[in-house]
């Protein structure tokens, strides 16, 4: 009987121990590497300043838009175009943060679906009634729609101005206004949510589980790099996944000389994030690279941090050596463009295999047993 009691006791202990671990969310973070410091650096020095900057660029764009719709002339058009371009470039620095409020809001889906659907845009303008919050309208708004509305809706600059001028242009002016306001509203919502509470939620969720901030964010970050930067901005237009180039699927198709700038901005933002570089450029904090240092991930005598940074640099150099993306894509096949793409591609396994395996972060976490 004593033995049975003893065994029952052991089983009791075992159940108690193992059930407590499922739900435990220890605030105490006593691992060697301070994950919460990294989260705080991401939130306070990169994400919040990023959204603040982007939001003010969007405000500028809205002002320029108001000027243009009030007085449609060449000068105001060019001012609006410049404001659009500046906001679009800064967007590249925050696009990867599709977590928390931005994820709830679908910020990236609402702001940057391309190629834009010109038929839908034309239809919406003609109808005069449309619900921009419908997912079917996502490809008819955001920055790519503005790209079309400001650069592609007519073949000459004067033609574009004329399109918006006069009583005939009222519908176009309204649509332009609604799209810019839509961007501004969504951006503000995300910025405000981060400022009012989400920052702490994010930083405090500093555990090691698959739903903790670090794991989720690293997944989002790699997803951005692989799907949006690598595939969206280069791979798909180059026909990597289809066999023939699809030049019209490039980002900023109508302002054709901008695509390369946007890509490079996104690449730089990815690298800066990896290194924990502050948004204002002054200083650096805890980051994926310092995490790798802490884990002491040496590969053949070289640190993984260096290997990844070298690959980022190589990718940037090879993309910078290209001409405008639209010109490159006119080559058949676009050999140089594909070679540059390959350099970008080579960073993916370094992040998705080497980095996450060093950190024991599950990619596309699967809720199933292991052994």
């Amino acid at each position: 009987m004593k033995k049975i009691v003893f065994v029952l006791f052991l089983i009791g202990v075992m159940v108690a121990c193992s059930t407590s671990d499922d739900s435990s969310q220890d605030d105490e973070n006593t691992g060697d590497f301070d994950r919460s410091a990294m989260l705080a650096n991401w939130a306070d020095n990169i994400i919040l300043p990023g959204y603040a900057d982007f939001s003010s660029e969007v405000d500028e764009m809205e002002l320029a838009m108001t000027d243009f719709t009030n007085t449609p002339n060449l000068e105001n058009l060019n001012a609006l175009r410049t404001a659009w371009q500046e906001a679009y470039v800064i967007w590249q620095r925050v696009s990867m943060f599709e977590v928390g409020p931005a994820e709830t809001n679908g910020l990236r889906l609402n702001l940057n679906i391309y190629p834009t659907n010109t038929e839908q845009i034309t239809q919406n303008i003609e109808d005069g009634t449309y619900n921009l919050s419908l997912s079917s309208n996502r490809s008819a708004k955001g920055f790519p729609a503005l790209d079309y509305l400001l650069f592609g809706i007519e073949s000459t600059d004067q033609g574009i101005v004329d399109r918006y001028a006069g009583t005939n242009g009222e519908e176009e002016r309204n649509y332009l206004t609604d799209i810019v306001v839509d961007i501004r509203v969504l951006t503000e919502e995300v910025k405000d949510a981060w400022a009012n509470g989400y920052r702490d939620t994010f930083v405090n969720n500093d555990g090691a589980s698959a739903t903790a901030s670090v794991d989720r964010f690293v997944n989002d970050y790699i997803f951005y790099f692989e799907k949006h930067l690598r595939a969206g901005k280069m791979g798909i237009p180059a026909g990597v996944f289809s066999g023939t180039p699809i030049p019209e699927s490039i980002e900023a198709f109508y302002k054709a000389d901008l695509s390369k700038t946007l890509f490079l901005e996104g690449l730089q933002a990815s690298q800066n994030f990896f290194n924990g570089r502050h948004y204002d450029g002054n200083g650096q904090g805890e980051s994926l690279s310092s995490y790798l240092d802490e884990l002491d991930t040496m590969k053949n005598g070289e640190s993984l941090k260096t290997i990844i940074n070298d690959q980022f640099d190589l990718a940037r150099t090879s993309v910078m050596s290209l001409s405008n993306f639209s010109e490159e894509l006119n080559q058949t096949p676009p050999i140089q463009f594909l070679e540059a793409y390959d350099e970008v591609q080579r960073a993916v396994p370094l992040l998705k295999v080497d980095m996450v395996s060093a950190m024991s972060i599950a990619i596309d976490f699967v809720d199933a047993d292991g052994d």
Binding site: K3, I4, F6, S20, S24, E28, A208, G239, S360
Partner: protein, 461 residues
């Protein structure tokens, strides 16, 4: 020698340990099935995917679609029947078949512990685990005239065969750890443990190198020694405490589901019959089980001598197979951890940190058109993850892609894989020869010469 063997085979012992084992095993399986169902895994793993990776030789096993739920129900119900000992031989046979069928649907979900359960269930078909303290025994008793069903003595080898099987699992798991990565580099625990920093009480120490070595060495020593400590009466209690501590720790640290509990209750088979008898008597008082059935001192005859011979032969063959099959990796060239040729079905548990990234290039040799595949169009994230570092998965998927794109209007397509794999913290490197058209390679148990060399050495077994 021969007489020694035959006298051993004729040795009888109390049936209680086997009955307790049957009950606990059955209950564990019921819980496992319910848990699987409740987690939504039936849908996610067996119904939702368009494509399933098949075990070599079992390509004919198909997902039953929505009827997979029925299969799980049958599996769970038969496990319950096993636990209570109702139509035992039928129940455990059906359990074995349904459970194994489920596991054969998709090798993405392969786990050593599922294999262990299949092996165990198979063995249980041939053991008289339903003869004592079971619904069958009561029914036979009520019918009268069937003395064979009420015996409380069974051949000793039947219980010993379970002990041998468990010992093989542990010892082979221990032998697999005798390699330079595990012992000298403390890999992969050096990678895994630091990420468990939020484990209650001990998480803060997981960044310390000495902890990584302690866990590695303790783990290897544990696996190698525990069967002997359990067999030896004076260390048995201590050994069982170790079993509980070890498996609870692995449960806390790693997502290994029911496995720790199954191993803990299985280890009870090493305890004396007296211990199990007390459990049986305790349970009898709860269920008003006829006590006269528990102490009849009758030998359980396995219906006839011929059937007993078959049971003995199958058991011996199974145990021999278990002893030999894990060594098949020696027949393959190259590093086992890298090629994984002979890796499965060998009790290599939680042994390496390996992950990969695979891209497939489809080439139409006639038009020269080439493009890459988006794996998420065809595979679930789980399948893609498992596929990207295991050569047999890579080949099977390449064939699937070949078929798919041939149907889509290409007359003939070539499939090339560009795969990067990282093993135990080494920098990822090319895994598959990117110049080999996998569409033309056949699956076989022979060495796959399109796996690129590891160019490093992991010394040891």
């Amino acid at each position: 020698m021969k007489s020694k063997l035959s006298s051993y085979l004729n040795e009888y012992t109390e049936a209680a340990p086997l009955a307790v084992f049957r009950i606990l095993f059955g209950l564990m399986m019921v819980i496992s099935m319910v848990r699987f169902w409740m987690n939504g895994w039936i849908e996610k793993l067996y119904i939702h995917p368009d494509f399933h990776f098949k075990f070599y030789g079992f390509e004919w096993v198909q997902s039953l679609g929505v009827y997979t739920y029925v299969l799980f129900f049958i599996c769970g119900l038969s496990a319950l029947f096993v636990a209570v000992g109702f139509k035992y031989r039928w129940s455990v046979s059906i359990f074995f078949l349904s459970f194994t069928y489920i596991e054969l649907i998709d090798k993405t979900t392969y786990l050593n512990h599922y294999y262990f359960i299949s092996v165990l269930a198979f063995l249980l078909i041939f053991l008289p685990a339903g003869a004592y303290f079971s619904v069958d025994a009561v029914r036979a008793y009520k019918k009268q005239g069937d003395p064979s069903m009420s015996g409380d003595l069974i051949p000793k080898w039947t219980i010993d065969s379970l002990k041998v099987l468990l010992s093989v699992v542990y010892i082979y798991a221990g032998l697999a750890k005798l390699n330079s990565d595990w012992l000298i580099e403390a890999l992969p625990l050096k990678i895994w443990l630091p990420s468990k920093f939020d484990t209650p009480l001990i998480g803060s120490m997981f960044g310390q190198p000495w902890i990584h070595y302690l866990f590695s060495w303790f783990g290897a020593a544990y696996d190698l020694c525990i069967p002997f400590l359990l067999l030896y009466k004076r260390t048995r209690i201590f050994a069982f405490v170790l079993v509980v501590v070890f498996h609870v720790l692995t449960r806390v640290l790693f997502p290994i589901g029911m496995f720790p509990y199954i191993m803990i209750v299985s280890a009870l088979i090493f305890f004396d019959a007296g211990f199990h008898k007390r459990i049986v008597l305790f349970l009898s008082s709860l269920f008003r089980y006829p006590l006269e059935l528990l102490e009849s001192n009758k030998k359980k005859q396995l219906i006839n001598l011929g059937k007993q011979r078959i049971a003995l032969f199958v058991t011996a063959a199974l145990l021999f197979f278990q002893l030999v099959f894990p060594w098949r990796y020696l027949l393959y060239p190259g590093e086992l951890f890298w090629t994984e040729e002979g890796y499965r079905f060998s009790w290599r548990v939680m042994l390496m940190e390996k992950s990969g990234y695979a891209q497939f290039k489809i080439v139409d040799p006639e038009t020269g058109k080439r493009f890459y595949v988006d794996n998420s169009d065809f595979l679930t994230p789980f399948q893609e993850k498992q596929m990207s570092f295991q050569p047999d998965f890579i080949l099977e998927y390449a064939h699937y892609l070949c078929n798919h794109f041939t149907k889509k209007g290409h007359r003939r397509v070539e499939v090339y894989a560009e795969v990067q794999v990282a093993l135990n913290g080494r920098l990822s490197r090319a895994y598959i020869d990117p110049n080999v058209n996998l569409a033309k390679e056949k699956e076989s148990i022979r060495h796959k010469n399109w796996i690129l060399p590891f160019d490093d050495a992991i010394k040891g077994l």
